[in-house]
Amino acid sequence: MSDNTQAIKNLLFRMADDDLIIGHRNSEWTGLGPILEEDIAFSSMAQDKLGHAQALYNILHSLGEADADTLAFTRNEKNFYCCHFVEYPIRDYDFSLMRHFLFDTADAIRFDMLTNSSCQPLANLAKKVRGEIKYHTMHANIWISQLGKATDESNIRMQAALNECYPLALGIFEKSDYESVLIDSGVFDGEELLQKVWTDIVSEIIEKSNLKMPDINEANLSTLAFGGRKGYHTEFLQPLLDEMTEVYSIDPAAEW
């Protein structure tokens, strides 16, 4: 345990921070969803994501870090390890929906892979939450398929959202310095494998939905997507943290 603890903590921070921030972004649809069902869906997924973040922070707490609230509400952006993709504002529904599809497909595969983790608490949590995330991917897949095939306008908008989101989504798989330790110690099979499985699943659903996979190569790969895993973030993260921690900053002992 001792020599890979830092690596495990780093993985947990990356995952928990992704879930916390995408959860917060999802919650921004509460009251604004284009139809009632979608308002409820995004609000429910937000609650799930916060639950997953909390459970991951709790494992960090058991490894000697501060408690979940302190971790979520008192770090500044330099100490957050989420990817840039989750930080972007919700914008139009097509953008949020496409981000939800690309992020949750990766999230589902990641937790699937972790059900065999040598880090037992993480494996247990993974076995629990994969059933919950299945609802998220099911929701995303249905909408991508329906809007990809519905009308010319919906197809064009979903394709534009995909073209914009896809390069950003690659930031999910940015490796940390602990990648080889995680793989060698059987904690996590690595970002490369995750990205490979993700690309296969995403391509299949995209193509079945009358959409085209964007052409990504070294030349047009967006560098904007990377840096989050090392503590470098977009201009959107700190304002989100300020808003999220507003009550906590005024009164850390506030009772709800």
Partner: protein, 169 residues
């Protein structure tokens, strides 16, 4: 020295039977025991009790309330101390709801979750769910997300009513 015959030893059965009085705050007909949330009980020789529970959903906001209700309930027994631990060592699934629990869910107006037998949910298991009001299977899934994390919303074409399902997970 104590006379062994006079020592009141608490049993696991007594605790379980008492915990039937701790209900889901959103569905007051159904207890935490019936939902399958209680995953272990340890009673030490000095009458200290450890109750282990697992959340239905990781993000369930009722966990903290249930934790304190469980603790207070067990403290009604002559015990030294009670500790309630929440973990994912046993992973909750709707398959863990007892037969009695399923009966009480149905009486509370919920459609029942299909048994998953360790499989993940698929869309087939969410379609043509039996309407809790009229028993028809001419129903449609309206939203896999509902008013709480554990519920989905369906619509019955036979009796023209929306209904909620305790969703399989």
């Amino acid at each position: 020295m104590y006379d062994m015959d006079e020592l009141t030893l608490i049993t696991e059965e007594e605790i379980i039977s008492l915990l039937h009085e701790v209900k889901d705050p959103e569905i007051p007909r159904v207890s935490v025991v019936e939902l399958g949330m209680i995953t272990g009980i340890k009673i030490s020789a000095d009458n200290k009790v450890e109750v282990r529970m697992t959340p239905t959903f990781a993000g369930c906001p009722a966990v903290e309330i249930l934790k304190s209700e469980i603790k207070n309930k067990v403290l009604e027994l002559p015990v030294e101390d009670v500790e309630v631990k929440v973990d994912f060592d046993v992973q909750w699934s709707t398959d863990m709801i007892t037969e009695e629990g399923r009966k009480h869910l149905k009486e509370s107006g919920f459609a029942l979750p299909a048994h998953l037998n360790n499989e993940l949910i698929s869309i087939d298991l969410l379609t043509n769910v039996e309407c809790p009001f009229c028993g028809s299977k001419k129903t449609r899934l309206r939203n896999p997300f509902g008013p709480t994390l554990c519920r989905a919303i369906h619509y019955c074409d036979a009796c023209s009513q929306a209904f909620e399902q305790f969703k399989p997970v």
